[in-house]
């Protein structure tokens, strides 16, 4: 297993390099001269030439890339051209918000999907099964922003139990924070819950047929223990493999959900930057989310290695 983990860790290096390269090139693919983009409305010939020399934009592309990487590593992620503030501090202040949103969404998704999937699998083709599967199918067909709108209509406008927009930080008020985060988290998590329900049901149905489950029952193990301790544990392994991908969808969805609910996270930061054509900010936003995704996939892969006994105990010598 150590070998697997080591190999997986080594794979991160070229991936991160590839991601940073792509994000770096993105800035240079945008139509227009990067200096014009940097200066925005303050463009003059003299300033442009000075900026070019100062930022090293007159040097070859691969040199610029290395310099840019050096800046990244030291925490200099550029300056916003609109607000003339260091981007890194802005991003770091917004990161906890998005992080909380993603954690809450994933938690909600699992809280719904695991029981629903298991119940559907235990009584396949019953009304419970069909109800769960139909709901799940509709759930994956709803775009996040529409789901958010529907929830706002229901809970914020019609019944007025929850706030529609805004954010209260955890340090200010736990209850206030949760109140403002419930609708965004549910919106973001529902599509994932739908997909995971289908997956867990399919996986559970396969596992429950296997011999070792019959053996456990024959040994007299009680049904709930058979289901939870023996079947579910192994049925969840395929779920772990797609967990990384699901978080990827959560990251993408967070961008839309933060916009709908005016949550001050990294996603709404990025959309604001795009609208204002503040390209250094856009670049930093893309980089942060992309690197976050790489990190999540790494963690998930290692988690999978720890869970799957076939990898944990290594393959038997053939």
């Amino acid at each position: 297993m150590q070998e697997y983990i080591l190999r997986r860790l080594m794979l991160v290096v070229p991936t991160v390099l590839g991601v940073t390269l792509l994000v770096f090139l993105m800035m240079h693919f945008i139509p227009g001269d990067p200096v014009t983009l940097l200066l925005g409305n303050n463009y003059t010939e003299g300033t442009a030439a000075a900026i070019r020399r100062e930022y090293g934009l007159d040097r070859p592309l691969h040199v610029q890339y290395v310099v840019w990487l050096e800046h990244l590593v030291t925490g200099d992620w550029g300056h916003s051209i609109i607000a003339n503030r260091p981007i890194f501090t802005d991003l770091m202040s917004r990161l906890p918000v998005t992080f909380e949103l993603i954690i809450l969404s994933m938690g909600f998704a699992l809280l719904v999907a695991i029981p629903a999937g298991v119940i559907a699998a235990l009584r396949p083709y019953s009304w419970r099964d069909y109800a769960a599967m139909t709901t799940a199918l509709v759930g994956v067909s709803v775009p996040e922003f529409f789901m958010g709108v529907l929830l706002i209509l229901c809970f914020a406008l019609a019944w007025e139990v929850l706030p529609a927009v805004g954010y209260v930080s955890l340090t200010d008020s736990l209850w206030g924070n949760l109140q403002h985060m419930i609708l965004p988290a549910v919106t973001l998590g529902l599509a994932r819950a739908a997909l995971l329900t289908r997956l867990i049901r399919a996986s559970m149905m396969e596992v429950i047929r296997l011999d070792y489950v019959t053996t456990a029952r024959a040994k007299g193990v009680r049904e709930w223990a058979v289901v939870l301790r023996h079947a579910l544990k192994n049925a969840l392994i395929p779920t772990v493999t797609v967990l990384g991908l699901q978080v990827g969808f959560l990251i993408g969805g967070a961008i839309v959900v933060e916009t709908v609910f005016s949550v001050p996270g990294v996603g709404s930061f990025g959309i604001g930057a795009i609208a204002l054509r503040d390209y250094p900010q856009v670049q930093a936003f893309v980089l942060l989310f992309a690197l976050g995704f790489v990190l999540v996939n790494l963690v998930v892969d290692i988690l999978y290695a720890l869970l799957d006994p076939r990898i944990k105990y290594g393959r038997p010598a053939s």
Binding site: M26, S141, P143, V149, I251, V256, V286
Partner: protein, 303 residues
């Protein structure tokens, strides 16, 4: 000249091998179609999809008003004159929803077709030739897959100016890595089979091997993935439009219309609901169809 007839009469000539494989393959297609016809989910999905194509094609005829015609009757609730109400500028929402189907259908279908057109050859070349080519292609695909799909689509739309055609391009680009991977996987599994060695020993040309033997093998997962991907593409297109990064106004598109009408949600919630419902029904249809296709083509059910 060498056809199934000769197969029935005489023991198969080794030179008939490709045709023999094809006959077996054709038999599988017949079973698939039969199973598809029995699947209720697939039928419903197909029905709605065909209805959608019809609406998109006949939007001009079916819409009672022009989608861009402004009137003073702004923000009305659904009435017999305006079945879905009117938006802030007095435009008939029903007509806009009908016309909006054009963008969604066009973007959804064309982007996936484009992705298939590029992804299949890419995957085939990588899987079949292996070695350096495989490494280079797959590394590129891996880097693209290291980005969340929606994020990648946003990045592409920031680089390219927002327009319907560019959305098609962006959605095609983000789909190619997964398709290439699927095809490459199929190619690798087919390569394992011994009959490929036999066919190669018969000195058939490589393009012919790719076309006749490898391609039919990966067609099934491609068809299922492509159908489900169309639904996904429509959701992404709607999300991009919602963020202002997609088709530009005044062209009606479900995502942007929902966004516009969202600001008026306290006055008139109906006009945000209908574009959203349109997206929901459309994507649901493609998902039903895709699910039905997957069940029909699932080799595990073939016993």
């Amino acid at each position: 000249m060498r056809h199934e007839a000769s197969l029935a009469i005489a023991p198969p000539d080794l030179r008939d091998m490709p045709e023999a494989v094809e006959t077996i393959a054709r038999g599988t297609w017949a079973t698939t179609l039969r199973r598809l016809r029995r699947s209720k989910t697939a039928i419903v999905g197909l029905g709605i999809v065909l209805l959608l194509f019809l609406v998109a094609a006949l939007a001009d005829v079916l819409a009672p008003y022009s989608p861009t015609q402004t009137t003073p009757a702004s923000l009305t609730v659904p009435t017999w004159q305006h079945l879905m109400g009117t938006d802030l500028l007095g435009r008939d929402v029903f007509s806009r929803v009908l016309h909006g189907s054009r963008v969604s259908v066009y973007v959804g279908v064309v982007s996936i077709l484009l992705a298939i057109l590029v992804g299949i050859p890419l995957g085939m070349v990588a899987g079949f030739y292996g070695g350096r080519t495989d490494q280079v292609i797959m590394r590129l695909m891996d880097v693209m897959l290291a980005f969340p799909i929606f994020l990648l689509a946003i990045v592409i739309m920031v680089i390219l100016e927002p327009s319907t055609m560019n959305v098609v391009l962006a959605l095609a680009i983000v789909r190619i890595p997964i398709l290439a991977r699927i095809v490459r996987g199929s190619v690798l599994s087919v390569k394992e089979h011994e009959y490929i060695e036999a066919v190669e020993a018969l000195a058939l040309s490589q393009p012919r091997i790719l076309r006749r033997h490898v391609l039919p093998n990966c067609l099934a997962p491609i068809i299922v993935t492509a159908t489900l991907d169309i639904g996904n593409a429509i959701i992404i297109e709607a999300s991009l439009s919602f963020l202002g990064l997609g088709t530009q106004p005044p062209t009606p598109t479900w995502g942007w219309d929902l966004k516009q009408n969202l600001t008026m949600i306290e006055i008139n919630p109906w006009i945000t609901i209908f574009p959203g419902l349109a997206i929901l029904v459309t994507v649901l249809a493609f998902n039903l169809l895709g699910d039905g296709l997957r069940d029909a083509l699932d080799p595990r059910l073939k016993h």
